[in-house]
């Protein structure tokens, strides 16, 4: 009975948090235009750069990078720093004193964030492929599976970061700026960062492989542009699934540890440090 009540509460919390995020985007279509700017213009610039080198067939890599940049941007700015902003405006303390499980709030934020980013990502795809039609060779089932697992591990990383950012104050914004572009580079958002074609030394490739976006981009490029069968990406998919589970576990542990520390030190709702 108690377990059922807990599950119901968890589900309702998750649904409510996801609903707020979805409603805020779809109820205000301008949000789509706002979220579109960086991924669209960055991917078009990179696609033009590929075209200027004489190999426009690689422009598709840039467009795919733009699609994933929309989700990665959402993870950074609407997941990782969200609790920090919630703390600034006084919502976080309401989460804490309510019986709602924080893990459900995080999962709801993720699902809502994914649904809210879909229109921007779709527009990057449509506009990108309109200007740079690139030959593709996908198996859509494999693409979908790869995409879902990439998002699962990315948003699990977002949950871990959002827990860690609770320890920070206003510096979260600067850290986000630095982390965002560095991960774009290391994960090979617009070019292969691991394996054949990577410009990085082996040691850097190993470090880059610890980032879910690196594995996800590598698998998506294979699934969309190359052979398109599951045998070429099964290892990436297994790795993404493991990463998602490990990051979820670490996020939950980090959140509990930082919440406990914040309660003891009385810094959990301190707004400016």
């Amino acid at each position: 009975m108690k377990l059922r009540l807990n599950l119901t509460l968890w589900y309702r919390t998750m649904y409510s948090r996801a609903w707020v995020r979805v409603r805020s985007t779809y109820g205000e279509p301008l949000w789509v235009a706002v979220n579109l700017a960086v991924p669209l213009l960055s991917s078009l610039a990179m696609a033009l750069l590929y075209s200027s080198t004489g190999l426009s067939k690689f422009a598709g890599f840039a467009i795919l990078g733009g699609v994933m940049l929309a989700f990665w941007g959402n993870v950074l700015w609407s997941m990782a720093s969200q609790f920090n902003w919630d703390k600034e405006v006084g919502i976080f303390e309401i989460y804490l004193i309510s019986p709602a499980p924080i893990s459900a709030v995080l999962v709801g934020m993720s699902l809502g964030g994914i649904l809210a980013t879909v229109p921007s990502a779709a527009l990057v795809t449509i506009i990108g492929w309109f200007f740079f039609p690139t030959p593709i060779n996908p198996s859509w089932t494999v693409v979908l599976l790869t995409f879902v697992l990439t998002l699962a591990s990315l948003y699990a990383l977002g949950m871990l970061l959002s827990s860690l950012y609770l320890a920070y104050g206003r510096e979260a914004e600067s850290l986000n700026n630095a982390i965002g572009e560095a991960i774009n580079l290391l994960s090979g958002l617009y070019f292969p960062a691991i394996g054949a074609g990577s410009p990085f030394p082996f040691a850097v490739q190993i470090v880059a492989s610890l980032i879910p976006l690196t594995i996800g981009m590598d698998a998506l490029r294979k699934a969309v542009f190359q052979t398109g069968n599951v045998s070429s990406v099964w290892f990436d998919l297994a790795l993404l699934a493991v990463m998602a589970m490990v990051l979820l576990f670490l996020g939950d542990k980090a959140l509990k540890a930082l919440e406990e520390r914040g309660r003891r030190q009385g810094t959990l709702v301190v707004r400016l440090k």
């Binding site: 750069l49 200027s52 080198t53 690689f58 510096e171 850290l175 630095a178 560095a182 580079l185 410009p199």
Partner: protein, 279 residues
């Protein structure tokens, strides 16, 4: 004198906001990471595409490294008015600046100068780091000359680009006084469009007609050309021509920006937007 004091005070405020939130050395390091990573991303995209096509050249690599590094400065200016005005409305700072005897014009000028002061070293560091990392990654040294003359020429270019930077600040400031939501939208579009249309990564002829005409009317294009003339081509004639266009275009652009900002500020006062937080 009072105008100068206002500009210096707001430049100091901008510096505090951008650099003093932590140890300034750490702050400078953190600020350098993103532009350097962005320059290296562009360099790798070029290397990956051109080496697959058998068209890789160190000259073109240098072209991209210099352009992408200087673009970091231009992009930094695009976000100044949002931070100074839109964010200032939330913190109640901007309405207080507005009611002071000097107008918001020197306030925005000071914030732009602060942005110049904190982004110039960032650009220089990212240029050096990208140069050495690219050399190591691609096994080809980008043809960039770091002689005394070329560094002085680059410094001159950055200084002459200030009117254009201020103009961008005032034009985007005209938007910022009216918004209380989506304040990052226009700066994001403007900085993204400048990446495409200011020859930051590729020459204008890569763009389809009539888009290829746009870079010719943007002062920031001449900032890129003058910087490349200083660091890559070592050509005084190209440098001076580009500097002339940059100074002329920047001045015209600045006059337009100041007029637009004055009009916007008056209209915003009449309609009560100066301290409006949510529309």
């Amino acid at each position: 004198m009072r105008l100068l004091k206002s500009i210096v005070a707001s430049a100091w405020m901008g510096w505090q906001r951008e650099m003093e939130w932590t140890n300034p050395i750490l702050s400078l390091f953190i600020k350098t990471v993103a532009p350097t990573a962005a320059v290296l991303s562009a360099a790798i995209v070029y290397w990956f595409g051109s080496s697959s096509a058998g068209l890789f050249t160190p000259e073109r690599l240098a072209y991209i490294i210099v352009g992408a590094s200087i673009y970091g400065q231009v992009a930094a200016y695009a976000y100044v008015p949002t931070s100074a005005i839109a964010e200032g409305k939330w913190s109640n700072l901007y309405p207080q600046v507005y009611i002071t005897p000097t107008s918001s014009i020197p306030y925005l000028a000071g914030r732009c100068l602060a942005s110049f002061a904190d982004s110039a070293p960032v650009i220089v560091i990212s240029l050096f780091v990208s140069y050495y990392v690219s050399s190591a990654l691609f096994g080809a040294v980008p043809l960039i000359y770091f002689s005394f003359d070329s560094v002085v020429m680059l410094a001159g270019t950055l200084i002459v680009s200030l009117p254009a930077a201020l103009a961008l600040g005032y034009l985007l400031g005209s938007y910022s006084v009216f918004v209380s939501r989506f304040e990052w939208a226009l700066p994001s579009y403007v900085s993204g469009l400048l990446m495409i249309f200011s020859e930051a990564l590729f020459p204008a002829n890569v763009l389809p007609y009539p888009f290829s005409l746009i870079p010719g009317v943007l002062p920031f294009t001449y900032l890129m050309r003058a910087s490349r003339a200083a660091l890559i081509y070592q050509s005084w004639s190209l440098y001076l021509t580009s500097m002339g266009y940059l100074a002329l275009g920047g001045t015209l652009f600045l006059a337009t920006g100041v007029i637009a900002f004055n009009l916007a500020e008056k209209l915003a006062r009449k309609r009560g937007f100066i301290d409006k937080k949510v529309m």
